[in-house]
């Protein structure tokens, strides 16, 4: 039907309701994609009996629009300050003033604005928006929906709980204190030896009803299983790795030469392997217990004193050989691959409340 458009008489017939069925169908479908015909049909309708009603609705829509300016998902500086007023979430009240928004929109703007995934620069207008806001405590401006970055953050959120972050900070602080305050020589190797266990505790702490308030709902959704788990594990690892590397750099190297201390880079593969092993184990017994178990075993191994050589913990003597050098690293890499494979095979078992 290329080139077919709505003729004037047809538009009039449609507006007055006298058109035949088939041609109205054609018109209705056509007008969805042709703005010119849409405008001409609308003009015909406005000229007819529905005109006054249309004008009334037009006024109401514009009144609503002026009262609640649309959000500006935009580039910095483009929106006028007036447009930055928040939308208190008022629904159109039938012809009456919507009045003050019902219900307190929540305590101050302390919560960081949720960024739109596509427009990272929204951080700037968001901050400006907060600054330009009315004194009334703002609610989030109405927007078409949170972006993918926001959703990733929420998915990862339970993993980055304040309690875990505090624990991480304590570990850091404690190790700094040990090194500089108490003067314990081998703080750095100790921290590095324990570093694979730290993301694991983070993973363990992000599961279950206490960590994830939505866990039961999430368990009934298609995405709630392994995908969420991996997102959280990735978040935890991404946070802990730089922190631990920085800590490793800050701590003084041990004085005694005999201790060959592998650098932080050497611990990455063991971390990865252990995390994957914990997740794979978690497909059998539940992530929380699996992560705690693996972390516990690792910590015990590194801290246990070696039989026969009293006074020196395992990590000081044996661990460096188990970690540094090409062949141990290859072994760790292989272990990581094996665990990843096991995880892939068991991926469908991450779908029950108990294993999540």
């Amino acid at each position: 039907m290329s080139g077919w458009h709505v003729s004037g008489p047809l538009a009039e017939r449609y507006a007055s309701g006298t058109a035949a069925e088939a041609e109205t169908w054609s018109l209705e479908k056509h007008v969805e994609t042709c703005g010119r015909c849409a405008a001409s049909v609308s003009a015909a309708v406005r000229a007819g009996a529905a005109g006054p009603a249309l004008d009334g609705i037009r006024a109401a829509v514009l009144a609503e629009a002026r009262r609640f300016p649309a959000p500006v998902p935009g580039r910095a500086g483009e929106a006028s300050p007036a447009a930055r007023r928040v939308w208190p979430g008022g629904r159109r009240a039938r012809g009456e003033a919507a009045g003050a928004p019902s219900g307190p929109p929540g305590p101050g703007g302390g919560h960081p604005p949720v960024p739109e995934g596509r427009r990272r620069r929204e951080r700037v207008p968001a901050a400006a928006r907060r600054a330009g806001l009315s004194r009334r405590a703002p609610s989030r401006a109405s927007r078409p929906g949170p972006g993918p970055l926001a959703r990733l953050l929420w998915a990862a959120g339970p993993a980055l709980r304040p309690s875990w972050l505090t624990a991480l900070a304590l570990v850091l602080g404690g190790s700094l204190f040990l090194a500089y305050g108490v003067g314990y020589d081998s703080t750095r190797p100790l921290l590095l030896a324990l570093s694979p266990a730290l993301p694991l505790t983070g993973v363990a702490m992000s599961y279950g009803r206490y960590a994830d308030p939505l866990h039961e709902i999430a368990a009934s959704t298609p995405s709630g299983g392994l995908r969420l788990l991996l997102t959280r594990t990735a978040a935890v690892t991404l946070v802990s790795v730089p922190v631990l590397a920085a800590a490793g750099a800050l701590l003084p190297p041990p004085a005694t030469e005999v201790l060959k201390v592998p650098g932080p880079a050497a611990w990455l593969l063991p971390s990865l392997a252990l995390t994957l092993a914990a997740l794979a184990l978690g497909s059998f017994v539940g992530c929380r217990y699996a992560a705690l178990a693996v972390a516990g075993v690792w910590a015990a191994l590194t801290l246990a004193p070696r039989p026969g050589k009293p006074g020196l913990p395992f990590f000081v003597t044996e661990l460096p050989e188990w970690v540094s050098g090409p062949s141990p690293q290859t072994c760790w890499a292989a272990a990581a691959v094996v665990c990843a494979g096991l995880l892939a095979v068991r991926r469908s078992s991450f779908n029950r409340l108990e294993t999540l």
Partner: protein, 189 residues
């Protein structure tokens, strides 16, 4: 085509908070939306409500419209809100939903005109019963799912399916009957 570009540009402007763009969009589309809605729902108050809700929703979520045609997108929003409104009314008042208004019978001249322009299809459509036509229209033209069509027309989902099948069957039969006339399909327009 300039109007199409204008539509996309208008929507972008609306997403930026330009109320005048919204007004222009309204002038361009509200007319046909109103008529199209009125043909599906006989209650003028509901139609007005749905139309207003649609444009307010456009104001709020113009940014979520990804390219494509504005008219189709507007219709989808309006249709869903109409289905919701009908369900809400059926719930609140507990009486059978308002039947769609029967369109004014076209005059003899109009029918001839229509027959000339649309040939067999138009005549065939006229032959099948109104409720079958309604189901066909809801599922084919309006793009509603079976469930939404059921909500809109106030009939059970199963009935929607059987009527849609019957409508297609009867349409085919009617077209077959008319085919010997060899009048051309499609138009003089």
């Amino acid at each position: 085509m300039e109007p199409d570009r204008d539509d996309a540009a208008l929507l972008r402007a609306v997403a930026q908070g330009d109320a005048d763009a919204l007004a222009t969009l309204y002038d361009r589309h509200a007319g046909w939306l109103h008529t199209r809605l009125s043909r599906r729902c006989g209650d003028p108050e509901t139609v007005r409500e749905v139309l207003q809700d649609t444009f307010v929703a456009v104001w709020r979520s113009a940014a979520s419209h990804r390219g494509g045609e504005a008219g189709g997108w507007l219709w989808v929003i309006a249709a869903r809100r109409l289905v919701d409104a009908r369900r809400a009314h059926a719930r609140a008042e507990r009486r059978p939903p308002v039947r769609t208004a029967a369109p004014t019978a076209p005059s003899a001249e109009d029918r001839v005109l229509a027959g000339l322009e649309y040939g067999d299809v138009g005549a065939a459509l006229d032959r099948i019963s109104p409720e079958l036509r309604e189901v066909l229209r809801a599922t084919v033209i309006d793009g509603l799912t079976t469930r939404e069509a059921a909500g809109l027309l106030g009939i059970p989902e199963g009935t929607v399916k059987t009527r849609a099948m019957r409508a297609r069957r009867e349409l085919r039969a009617a077209l077959a009957l008319l085919a010997p006339d060899t009048s051309p399909l499609g138009g003089t327009a």
